[in-house]
Amino acid sequence: MNSLADQLLVLCLLINFAVLGTSRLAFSVRCVAVQGVLLGTLPALVHPFSWHVSFIVVSIILVKGGLIPVLIIRAIKKAEIEREFSPFIGYIPSLVLGALFTSLAFIFAARLPLAPEHEGLLIVPAAAATLMSGFLVLMGRRKAISQVLGYLLMENGIFLFGLLLADAMPVMVEAGALLDLLVGIFVMGIVINHISREFSSIDTSRLSALREE
C-alpha cells in the first residue's frame, strides 16, 4: 500500500460527505461517479500488474464512471427534477451522523481481527464509512433517484472491502457482479421514469397505496 492510495481513500471519504450534504441531484450523481472512478483505480495501486487487474480497472471505470452516471442523469432529465425536497433526515443531521459513523468506522476497524498484512490500512474504515453513508442516503431521502445513489454508495463500500480479497474473486465473478449492477441501475432508471409519469413526481413517499392498514 502506498500513500497515493491512502490519499484516494481519504478523497472517497470526503465525497461521502459531499453527497450527504447536498440537495442537488446532478451534483450527487457526479460525486458518486468520481468516487466510482477513484475506486476503480485503486486495484491498480494496491495489486501488482496483471491482465486480470487491468481488465477490472478498465471495466469499473467504464461502468461506474461512464455508463451508470449517464443512465441516472438521463432519468433525472426525463423526470425534470433538480433537487431533493424535505428529506426525512435533514442535511445537517445527515452530515453529523455521517461524521459519527465515519469516526465509529475507524474505531471499529482498529479492533477488527484483520490479517497482519492488512492492519493499519485505510481500506476497512473507508469501506465501513462508505457503506454507512450509503445506508443514510438510502433511508433519509424521498426521491427515488437519491435512493439509487444511496444504493450505489453502499455498493462502493462493499467493493472497497472486496479490495482485500485479491485472488478469491475470479475475473468472471467480478465482471458478472459489475454487469448485474449495471443492469440493476438500468432497470431502476426505467422504473423511475415510469414513476414520474404515473405520479408526476418521483417522491417515493407518495408510493403508499399498498400500505397495510
Binding site: 485472488d167 478469491a168 474473486m169
Partner: protein, 477 residues
C-alpha cells in the same frame, strides 16, 4: 449438457425478442421450457461429473430445486399461452424474454458450486423479475416493483458483503482463498471464527430478505399482490427455491463448522416469527392475492423451522420445499383466473366464484386445503413429519407453537377463501370476458394432480434424492 440448461432458455429469450407478433411469440415459452425440462430430466438420470475447475456441479440439493423449478416453469409456460391470449393488447415481448432469462438464471443458481457465481445468478433472477411484476403498468404495480427492486437489491448487496467476509475469513485463517463450496466445507472448522460468524449473519439477512423470511418480508405482499398470477406463481414457487438453495449452501458450510447449532437456532426463531407474522396478517385480509403472499411467508417459515430442527426434519423440510412450490403454483394460477373473471381481487366484490368460474374456484379451494396441511395432499405429509420430528427431539415448544400457528393460519385463510369460492354472487356484478377454458384451467389442474399424487405416494427415486440431499446438509449419517 450442463451448459444447455443455461444457454437454451437464453436462446429462447433472444428468439422471443425477434418474433414480431404478440400472438405467436407466446408459443416460444412452452417450446423452450419443454426443451429445458427435457434437458433437466436427462441430467437427473445421467449426472455429469463436476466441471474441471469445480464451479459447475449438479448435486442432490441442486437436483431437487431443478426438478421443482423445471416442472413449475413448464406448466406455467403453458398457462402463459392461455393467459396472454386474453391480454393481446398489452405488448408481451419484455414479459416473454424476461421469463426465459429468468429461467436461465435459476438454472445457473442450481448448478453453481462457486458462491460468487451463485450470487450473480441470484441477483440476475431478482432483476429479471422486476419487469414481470410491472406487467400491468399501473400506479400500484409500479409501487410494488420499486419496493421489490430496492429491498431485494439492498438485501442481495448485504449477502455479497457476507460472501466477502466468508472469503476474508479464509485469508485471516491462512487457508486456501476460495469461494468454492467443497473447499469452504472442508476448511469450515479452521476458518477465523469472528469473520465466519459475521459472514453467516450477513448471508442470512441477505438471502433471507430475498426469500421473504419475516421480518425481512415487507416487499412480498406488494409484489405478489400486484404481479399477474402467472408471475406470482413463479415468484412464490420458483424464485423462493433459488434463494432457499443459496441459504442451504451457507447452511452446508455452517453445519461443517462449529457454528451449526447457532445457525440452526437463528433459523428456527426466524421461521417461527415468519409463521407468527403470517398468522397475524392473514386474519381479515380483504385482498386474496396479498393473502397468498402471507401464505408464502408462512411456508418459507415452515421450511426454516425444519432447517432449524435439523436431523430428521431436514428430509421433511426439503420435501416441503417441493410441495410448497407445486401448491403455490395452483393457488396463484387459479386465483389469477378468478381475478380476471371478476376484475377485482378484493373479497368485497369477489364472492361465489364457484358459479362464475367453477373449475378455477374448485382448484383454489382444493389448493387452499392442501397448503393449510389437510390430508390427503402433499403438504400434509411434510408438515406432519416436521411436527413429529419436533416432538421427537423433545422440542415441545417449537412443536406446540408450530401447531398453534398452523391452526390460526387455517382459520384466517378460510375466512377469506371460503366466501370467495362459495358465497352468493354479488348482485351488481361487472361483466367480464374471462370464463374458465381449457388453456388456463388444465395447467393448474395438472399441478393439483401432482400435489395429490405426492400426498399419497412419493416415488422411490425422489425419496432417495431427498435422503441424499438431507445427508449433504448433515442431517442423516
Amino acid at each position: 449438457m450442463m451448459w444447455a440448461l443455461v444457454l437454451l432458455p437464453l436462446l429462447g429469450a433472444a428468439f422471443s425478442w425477434l418474433v414480431p407478433d404478440n400472438r405467436r411469440r407466446v408459443w416460444v415459452l412452452p417450446v423452450f421450457s419443454l426443451a429445458q425440462l427435457g434437458v433437466s430430466v436427462a441430467l437427473l438420470v445421467h449426472t455429469p461429473p463436476a466441471s474441471p475447475a469445480g464451479w459447475i456441479l449438479l448435486d442432490a440439493l441442486g437436483k431437487l430445486v431443478l426438478m421443482a423449478n423445471s416442472i413449475l416453469f413448464t406448466i406455467c409456460s403453458f398457462y402463459a399461452v392461455g393467459y396472454l391470449s386474453y391480454r393481446l393488447k398489452r405488448p408481451n415481448r419484455v414479459l416473454c424474454a424476461s421469463l426465459l432469462v429468468c429461467l436461465s438464471a435459476t438454472s445457473l443458481v442450481v448448478v453453481s458450486q462457486h458462491l460468487g457465481l451463485l450470487w450473480i445468478a441470484l441477483e440476475a433472477t431478482t432483476l429479471t423479475m422486476a419487469p414481470l411484476i410491472y406487467f400491468n403498468h399501473n400506479a400500484r404495480s409500479i409501487e410494488a416493483t420499486w419496493k421489490y427492486l430496492l429491498i431485494c437489491s439492498v438485501g442481495i448487496a448485504i449477502a455479497l458483503l457476507g460472501l466477502f467476509f466468508l472469503a476474508y475469513s479464509t485469508i485471516v485463517a491462512k487457508q486456501e482463498v476460495s469461494l468454492l463450496l467443497p473447499s469452504l466445507i472442508r476448511d469450515a472448522a479452521a476458518l477465523h471464527p469472528g469473520w465466519r460468524h459475521a459472514a453467516f449473519i450477513f448471508l442470512l439477512v441477505g438471502f433471507g430478505s430475498k426469500m421473504g423470511l419475516a421480518p425481512l418480508h415487507t416487499w412480498k405482499p406488494d409484489a405478489y399482490g400486484e404481479a399477474p398470477g402467472l408471475v406470482g406463481a413463479l415468484l412464490a414457487g420458483g424464485l423462493v427455491n433459488c434463494a432457499l438453495l443459496a441459504l442451504l449452501r451457507v447452511y452446508q458450510v455452517a453445519a461443517a463448522s462449529s457454528e451449526g447449532a447457532l445457525f440452526q437456532q437463528v433459523l428456527l426463531t426466524m421461521g417461527l416469527v415468519s409463521m407468527a407474522f403470517a398468522a397475524v396478517f392473514m386474519a381479515r385480509q380483504s385482498d386474496f392475492k396479498r393473502m397468498l403472499a402471507y401464505s408464502s411467508v408462512e411456508h418459507v417459515g415452515i421450511i426454516a423451522v425444519a432447517l432449524g430442527l435439523g436431523k430428521g426434519a431436514l428430509f421433511a423440510g426439503l420435501l416441503h420445499m417441493i410441495n410448497n412450490s407445486l401448491t403455490k403454483g395452483v393457488l396463484f394460477l387459479s386465483c389469477g383466473n378468478i381475478h380476471r373473471a371478476f376484475n377485482s381481487k378484493s373479497t368485497q366484490f369477489v364472492r361465489g366464484a364457484l358459479r362464475r368460474t367453477p373449475w378455477s374456484a374448485a382448484l383454489f379451494l382444493a389448493a387452499f386445503l392442501a397448503i393449510t396441511g389437510s390430508p390427503p395432499f402433499a403438504p400434509f405429509v411434510s408438515e406432519f413429519l416436521i411436527v413429529s420430528s419436533a416432538f421427537g427431539q423433545g422440542n415441545h415448544w417449537t412443536g406446540g407453537l408450530f401447531l398453534l400457528f398452523l391452526a390460526l393460519i387455517f382459520i384466517g385463510m378460510a375466512s377469506t377463501v371460503l366466501p370467495v369460492v362459495l358465497g352468493e354472487l354479488p348482485p351488481d356484478l361487472e361483466r367480464t370476458r374471462y370464463r374458465d377454458a381449457a388453456p388456463t384451467v388444465l395447467p393448474p389442474l395438472v399441478l393439483m394432480g401432482l400435489v395429490l399424487l405426492l400426498g399419497v405416494w412419493i416415488p422411490s427415486p425422489l425419496q432417495e434424492l431427498l435422503h441424499e440431499a438431507a445427508r449433504l446438509l448433515g442431517g442423516e449419517a
